[in-house]
């Protein structure tokens, strides 16, 4: 349920991308996206460190294998 400021922000960002060179926004955007994947990966690294975490990890892996 997004409100009006979300749409305003999409418009603002689209204009920023349109009106600025790629070098100005792309590195920062990459950094933010990479950070999100790092946070996701850290969760799995943390799971590996405890017995309870390793049980959860097994369950997640089993689910992933079931999907294929």
């Amino acid at each position: 349920m997004r409100d009006k400021t979300h749409l305003e922000q999409i418009e603002r960002w689209a204009n920023f991308v349109k009106n600025n060179p790629r070098e100005k926004w792309k590195p920062r955007l990459n950094e933010i996206i990479n950070a999100q994947y790092e946070i996701a990966r850290r969760f799995y690294n943390n799971l590996e460190k405890t017995e309870k975490g390793r049980i959860i990890l097994k369950r997640l892996m089993a689910e992933r294998l079931n999907k294929k």
């Binding site: 409100d3 009006k4 400021t5 979300h6 922000q9 950070a35 946070i39 996701a40 460190k49």
Partner: protein
């Protein structure tokens, strides 16, 4: 928390610094996409969503001034009366750290009903995320994603959280929250 200082990336720093300031003034929760990402979902989100308890103008002014002093910029307005007006009317406000408005970005809004109040009351920190941040409970996240949001992405997030917290999750609580969502959000 299972994490060393050296692990902190740009988003960790942004989120934890922001949350640390807010917590001094009001109770908050981080909800939605960032909860899923923090729990290992490999996907991206455009912003971090935060819900805070309702505050008087004077209390909000203190928090906003501290955020501003520490480098956060509100994108809606530089005039605090206007910023508060957004919140008061039920809209969100957005903070970034940079003058050029580049992300990351924190979306902040006031609690809007009894469900949000309950979300804040039952907020949790999750050790495996390695983040010193208050999140809405897993039951809340699952209920919202399955009952209200319902996109493919949300249903996958809910399934992922259900697998992780299989032993701890309360189905009774999820059903209770879903009933609240129907009453307070869907019937209106």
């Amino acid at each position: 928390m299972i994490r060393g200082i050296e692990d902190r990336n740009i988003l960790d720093k942004f989120a934890e610094n922001f949350c640390e300031i807010v917590e001094k003034h009001v109770k908050y929760i981080v909800v939605s996409g960032f909860v899923a990402i923090s729990h290992g979902r490999s996907r991206a989100t455009e912003d971090i969503d935060m819900i805070i308890e309702r505050m008087s103008f004077n209390d909000f002014e203190k928090m906003h001034n501290e955020l501003t002093r520490k480098g956060f910029i509100c994108m809606q307005s530089s005039k605090i009366e206007d910023v508060y007006d957004y919140l008061d009317k039920g809209d969100s406000i957005r903070y970034v750290e940079r003058e050029d408005m580049l992300p990351p970005e924190m979306e902040v809004k006031f609690v809007k009903d009894e469900i949000d109040k309950l979300q804040i009351k039952e907020r949790k920190k999750f050790i495996f995320t390695g983040l010193d941040i208050w999140f809405s409970s897993i039951e809340m996240n699952v209920a919202f994603k399955e009952e209200l949001l319902k996109s493919d992405k949300d249903m996958e997030d809910a399934k992922h959280l259900r697998i992780i917290y299989k032993e701890e999750i309360s189905e009774k609580q999820i059903e209770h929250i879903k009933r609240m969502i129907i009453e307070l959000r869907l019937k209106k």
